[in-house]
Amino acid sequence: MLELIVISTLNGVLFGMLLFLLSSGLTVIFSMMGVLNFAHASFYMLGAFFGFQLTKWIGFWPALVLAPLLVGAIGMAVERYGLRNTHKHGHVAELLLTFGLAFAIEEIVSMIWGKSPLDYRVPALLDFPAFTIFSTNYPAYKIFMLAVSVIIFVALLIVLKRTRVGLVVQAALTHPHMVGHLGHNVGRVFMAVFGVGSALAALAGVIAGPALVTQSDMAASLGPILFVVIVFGGLGSLPGAFIASLVIGLVQTFAVALDGSLASAFGPLDPSAGPSVLTDVWNVTIAQVAPIVPYLLLVIILIVRPMGLMGTRES
C-alpha cells in the first residue's frame, strides 16, 4: 500500500507540474487581456510536433530549446497580427479567433504529420531507470520532466516577483492605461507575455511528447482539463493555477489507485445486493470515474466559490 501511495504521489505531482506549465501561460494571458485563449492547448501540441521533427533533424537537446522559441514566435505573431486587430471588436471576436485557430492548427498538424501517433522516443541519454523504490523503477526521463517543470516554475516566480520586468507585467495586468501613461509600451508587453505563454506550452509539449502520446488529437484531449485548472485555481491567479494543477494531478492519479465503490462504503448493508436498476451505479468504482473527477471538482468549486481558489474577481 505504501508503495502505491509513494508511486502515485510521484506520478500525480509530475502530471500536476505538466499541467502547471500549460496553465501558467493561459492564466496570465487571461488576466492581461481578458481573453480565454482556446488555442493554448494547440501551442502545446505544436511544441510536441516541432519537438519531434527537430529531434529527428538536429537531436533532442537543441529541439528542447528551439521548438519553444519557434512556437513562442508564432504566438507573438498571433497576438500582433490577429488578436490586436480583433481587439477593437470586443472579446467575442477575440474568443472566436482563438477558437478558429485551434481547429486550424489541428487540421494543419494532421495534414503534415498524419493522424496516427508519432514514434517520438525518449532520448537515449535519459532512457534508464533513475532509481528503484519498493522494486518499482522510476524512469529518469520522468525525473527530468519534473526538474524542468520546477525550474520553470521558480524562474517564472522570480521574474514576476523580483524583477523590473515582472513589475511592469503585474502592473499591466491590473492598470494597463496607467502603465501606458508611464511610458511603457503596453502592446509590446502583451505581445511578449503571449509569446512567453505559448513558448511555455510548447516546452510542456516537447517534454511530454515522448512520455505521453504525440498525435493530432492531443490538444483536444488536454484542452478541457486546462480550463478546469484555471477556473479551479481562480482566473488570472498564478499561485492558484499552481495549487490547482497539483490538486488535479494528484486527484486524478489517486482516483485511479482507489478501488472503493459507492456500494462498498455501506459495508454489510451493501445496497447493490438487493435487486435494483441502480446496481450498476452502486458498483462503479472510483477508478472508473477517475476521468470525470476534475470536472466534478469544477462544478463544486463554481457552486461553493465562484471566483476559484485564489481568484479575486467573480468574472
Binding site: 500500500m1 508503495e3 502505491l4 508511486i7 502515485s8 506520478n11 502530471f15 494532421s110 493522424k115 496516427s116 501517433p117 531507470p129 528503484t132 522494486s135 518499482t136 523503477n137 522510476y138 524512469p139 520522468k142 512520455a211 505521453l212 502520446v213 498525435q215 493530432s216 488529437d217 492531443m218 484531449s221 492519479t253 485511479v256 489507485a257 468504482t285 477508478a287 472508473q288 476521468p291
Partner: protein, 410 residues
Amino acid sequence: MRKLTLAIAVIAPMLGHAASAEDALKIGYIDPLSGGGASVGEGGLKTFQYLADELNAKGGILGHKIEIVPLDNKTNPQESLVQAQKAIDAGVHYITQGNGSSVGAALSDFVTKNNSRNPGKEVLYFNYAAVDPSLTNEKCSYWHFRWDASSDIKMEALTNYMKDTASIKKVYLINQDYSFGQSVRTDARKMLGAKRPDIQIVGDELHPLLKVTDFSPYIAKIKASGADSVVTGNWGQDFALLLKAAADAGLKVNWYTYYAGGAGGPTAVKQTGLDHQVFQITEGFANSGNKAAMDYEKAFRAKVNLSLWYPRAVNEMRMFKAAAEKANSIDPVKVAAALEDLKFEVLDGGQGVMRKDDHQFLQPIYISSFGKLTESEPFDEESTGWGWHLVSKIDTPQAMVSTTCKMVRP
C-alpha cells in the same frame, strides 16, 4: 447549338461516371482513421486495399473490380452510422468494420433496420474484428457476418492453456471500459473460476477506451497487488502504452493478451524485456509454419511494409469471392445466403465454416508468445528482432462455444 454542346459537355462525364460506378464493387471500410484508434485503422485499410488489388489483378469478383471506400468513424458509434449512411447513399452494398464492439453493435443494428426498410437495397456488414459475443448471441443479425473468433471463444482457449500452467497463482484483469472489455473480464472471471478455482483474481480494472495517455498509475496498482499474470483485451494504443508504462516501471509478469501484436504492441513488449512471457491468441500469425501463409506474409510485407495482422481479412475477402461465385451474383441477399454454412480452407491452414445459426466463422486458433526467434522462424515484428512463436494450436472443433442466437431470417 452552343447550349446543347455545353449540356453534353457537362452531362457526358457524369454518365460515364455513373456507368463505371455501377461496374465497381464498392466496400465501405468504416474504421478509425484519426484519434486514438488511427494506427490500427490505417493498418486495416492498407490490408484491405492490398486484398482488393490482389483480387482485381485476377479479374475481381465475377468481373467486378473491387474498390475500398475509406470512411473515418473516429471509433465512435454515432459517427459510424453517419459514415454508413454516406456509404449507402454512394451506392455501397457491403460495409466492413472491425475496431470497437460498440461500433459493431451500432452498425449491425443500423444495417438490420436499413434492410427491413429498404427491400431490394440490402447491405451486408462484414465484421473482421469486433469480438463482443453479444453480436452473435442476443444481438445477432442475419446481415452480420463475423470472421474473427468471438471473445468468449478466445477466452475459452486462453483459459484452457492457463489452466495447465501451474505457476499462475494471482491474476490481474485490466480492460477497456466498453462492451468488449467488459465481456473479457466477465468471461475471464467465470472461466478461470470454473477451471482453476485456486487462482486468485487480485485486481479487476476497467479504464476509459483510447483516452488514457499514461498508464503508470495503473501499473503501480498492478505491482502493488502482487499479481504474477495479467489478462487484458486491450488493443491499439491502449495496449502499447500499457506495456510502455510496464517497461518504465520494470513490472515483471506474464501477459495473456488478445492483441499484443497490434500496431505499437511488439515495440512496447520488446522494451519490457519479457522474453516469451507475453502471449496472444489469434487466428494466424507470421511464423505459423504453414508454407502458403508464410509465402503470403512475405509478399504482403514486401509490398505494404507492415506485418499481416489480419489473416481474417484475407479469409473474409476470399470467402466473399467464393460466396459470390457460388451464388453467381453480387446481390447482397444471394451472397448472404451463399455464405451460410460455407466451408473454407483458411489462410493458415485447416478448415473453417461460417456457422449458419449465428454467422460466426469457426476456425482453428493459435496461442503464440513473443520473444527471441529460432532458425525456422523468419519473421520478426516492427524491426525489434523478436517475433511470434507457436505455443499451442486449437483446432476448429475445440474452438467453438454454443450460441443463444435466434436468427430472424428475411
